[in-house]
């Protein structure tokens, strides 16, 4: 079906537009303040007293990450910048060769970044450590507990304890891995691949999980509460892989919801309920309830693809941004 049925319940009238006006690549919450990451140079804070633009990079922003207290950004100016909830930013590092900072990660104050093949990590109170991956780094993710970093690269992903001298532990799978995430319980590692597929490892025994059937590269991954499901983009519907059992999705089919004839491009799971915000290539946003697949329309088709979705910690507010700089805050209370 092309269009969302006319009788679909809607929360569009609860949207408060935010004047951003520049392409958005991500959105995060620090407390109840929504922060939009622009494709170039700045963050836009949208609080109760209007918007504030904070310049953080002298060029393109390649990736951002947040742990709810701070936002880490990597830029093509070779800088890693950390910005707090008040909009105060510090440059953590400037690459000596001004290489692009391709990827960043943050967890409880520990931050990580990569430039080409080299990955770096810095504990909240500690020195910068570095390791060279076998090829250019495709993605970074901190383990939910402990100072441990997953590094996606060509032919697999490596798990690295930055404070331990030992070599990173390699989990092999042929092909180019371009994104990585840990399940919230830390038992599974999942990568997105150059091919339209995900690959997973059960870390206890390194058992492989192949998650295929996508029509496009999977660029957005989000865990539902408790890590029961992994919500993903990469198809014309929301695809959710079951991770509740100890075997994860091994031998199981994914749940397929919200089918349309346009691509899902961004997904963001609600922090407490089994609901996923789904952003489509045509600008539509649907809030989809797992279980019965009920849909609520949160945004009508627009001029550009949805490029950012984020929930606040209580899940009462969801924000969105688009590739052409439209943004909004939807209050569901």
């Amino acid at each position: 079906m092309t269009d969302v049925p006319a009788d679909t319940p809607s929360v569009i009238d609860r949207t408060q537009p935010v004047a951003v006006g520049e392409p958005i690549i991500a959105a995060h919450f620090i407390g109840d303040t929504a922060v939009f990451v622009l494709a170039e140079e700045a963050l836009v804070f949208a609080g109760s007293n209007g918007t504030q633009r904070v310049a953080v990079h002298g060029g393109g922003i390649l990736e951002s990450a947040s742990d709810g207290k701070r936002i880490v950004t990597g830029g093509d100016d070779g800088k890693v910048v950390v910005t707090d909830g008040k909009g105060a930013s510090i440059t953590i590092v400037t690459d000596a060769k001004r290489r692009w900072i391709d990827h960043v990660a943050v967890n409880a104050g520990a931050i990580a970044w990569s430039a080409g093949k080299q990955a770096f990590a810095k504990a909240a109170k500690g020195d910068e450590k570095t390791v060279e991956a076998p090829s250019s780094v495709g993605g970074l993710a901190f383990a939910p507990k402990g100072f441990r970093l997953a590094i996606a690269h060509y032919n697999g992903a490596s798990l690295w304890f930055p404070n331990v001298a030992a070599k990173p532990e390699l989990h092999e799978w042929k092909g180019s891995h371009v994104g990585v995430t840990f399940s919230p319980d830390g038992k599974f590692l999942v990568t997105a691949m150059q091919e339209p597929a995900l690959h997973g490892w059960r870390l206890a025994d390194d058992k492989h999980m192949r998650m295929t059937g996508y029509s496009a590269k999977v660029r957005s991954l989000s865990w539902t509460p408790g890590g029961k499901w992994l919500a993903t983009s990469g198809s014309t519907q929301l695809i959710l892989w079951p991770f509740a059992s100890k075997d994860g999705p091994m031998g199981k089919q994914p749940q397929l919801l919200a089918p349309r004839d346009t691509k899902v491009v961004v997904v963001a799971a609600h922090p407490t309920q089994e609901v996923v915000a789904v952003g489509f290539d045509d600008g539509v946003i649907l809030l989809v309830r797992l279980g019965d697949g009920a849909e609520v329309l949160a945004r009508k088709p627009g001029n550009a693809a949805v490029s950012a979705l984020a929930w606040n910690t209580t899940g009462a507010i969801v924000v969105f941004g688009t590739a052409d700089g439209e943004a909004g805050i939807i209050d569901l209370t």
Binding site: G60, G116, G138, Y154, Q194, E195
Partner: protein
């Protein structure tokens, strides 16, 4: 073809020029020229080695030339992983530049670079391959074609060839090396240059997908060869040292292992036969087909169909409607190694609609 380029411009895709050339041919000189001459265009440049470019430009990006195999079951399907990442990153700064130039190392095979623009959906959506430009050393190319397979690949892949350092070779020598180039790739445009000095509009914005122009350059010697019923079979000739014929003063070489062939028919093709045949051909013979290009007229189809391919990868689409009075014919060219020419010719002819 102005209507064609308008169509391309309308797509909003950023044109990408791939710059190749064997070590020392003059690539960096050309690149520095592109970056320093006043032409009102702004280029993002992906270089293989930082520092060689004497220009301070925040849109110069260092690349790692990381070549990845795709897990799609085709053995020659390799892409430049770093290029995917860099082009995506550059798109953050869309609007800050008009075109992208990718410089490759002197020993690079152009195939993975070209294939990147056909294989990765995100790259394909945002950028289009404008042309492969190869800088060749007029003095040394002949030797390199004998001992460096990379140099030969770069010539075979080229849409535009700069025959550089012409001041070091006399006219006879230049004609000789041009004939050698033509033996491998009769479809590329050749420009003679000294110190890579060339009007940039001959290198950039070529719209190589504007196949009309390229396919219209029916190389003289191919024509004369065909007119004389010249056999391209290999049974009559000793190819150990190449051989030459003389067609009205124009030297005509056969390369020992690389050939091109051109097919043409003014009868419409049956798309239900042609497309499966083409797919089957590249699936089987992809490793030996370096490039193919075509403009096709399908039966009962008002639109021109354009096609291009690299090894096993094919990319084709309806381009625009055939114009009134325009000659509706189908043209298809191949450049490759040990091409099964008879089989290709027979296969093509079997696709003519009944």
């Amino acid at each position: 073809m102005s209507d064609n380029s308008t169509a391309e411009a309308g797509s909003g895709k950023i044109p990408v020029t791939v710059l190749t050339g064997y070590l020392g041919a003059g690539k960096t000189t050309l690149l520095n020229r592109i970056l320093s001459e006043p032409h009102g265009q702004k280029y993002a440049v992906i270089v293989n080695e930082f520092g060689e470019i004497g220009i301070d430009n925040d849109l110069v990006v260092g690349a790692d030339e990381e070549i990845f195999e795709m897990n799609n079951g085709c053995i020659c399907c390799t892409v430049r992983g770093d290029l995917i990442r860099i082009i995506e990153g550059l798109m953050r700064r869309k609007g800050k530049f008009d075109a992208i130039i990718v410089e490759t190392t002197g020993l690079a095979d152009p195939a993975p670079v070209a294939q990147t623009f056909f294989v990765d959906d995100d790259v394909k959506e945002k950028a289009r391959l404008d042309a492969v430009v190869t800088v060749a050393d007029a003095l040394w190319l002949k030797d390199r074609l004998k001992d460096a397979p990379e140099a030969k690949n770069q010539i075979a892949f080229a849409d535009v060839i700069l025959l550089n350092k012409t001041d070091l070779v006399d006219e006879g020598g230049l004609r000789e090396v041009e004939a050698r180039i033509r033996a491998i790739n009769p479809y590329a445009k050749i420009h003679r240059t000294e110190r890579s000095n060339i009007a940039l509009d001959k290198v950039l914005g070529q719209n190589a997908f504007d196949l009309d122009r390229i396919l219209d350059i029916e190389p003289q010697f191919l024509k004369s060869g065909d007119d004389e019923g010249h056999s391209h079979g290999h049974d009559h000739h000793d190819h150990a040292h190449g051989h030459d014929h003389d067609h009205g003063g124009l030297k005509h070489y056969h390369d020992e292992d690389m050939q091109s062939m051109s097919l043409r028919t003014d009868k419409p093709l049956d798309p239900d036969k042609f497309l499966p045949w083409m797919q089957d051909l590249v699936a089987k013979d992809g490793p030996s087909i370096l490039r193919c290009k075509g403009i096709l007229s399908f039966k009962d189809d008002p639109d021109r169909f354009v096609l291009q391919g690299v090894h096993m990868i094919l990319d084709g689409d309806h381009q625009r409607a055939w114009k009134d009075g325009e000659k509706r014919d189908s043209r298809l060219v191949f450049i490759g190694r040990e091409l099964p020419q008879d089989r290709i010719r027979e296969g093509f002819e079997a696709c003519i609609a009944q």
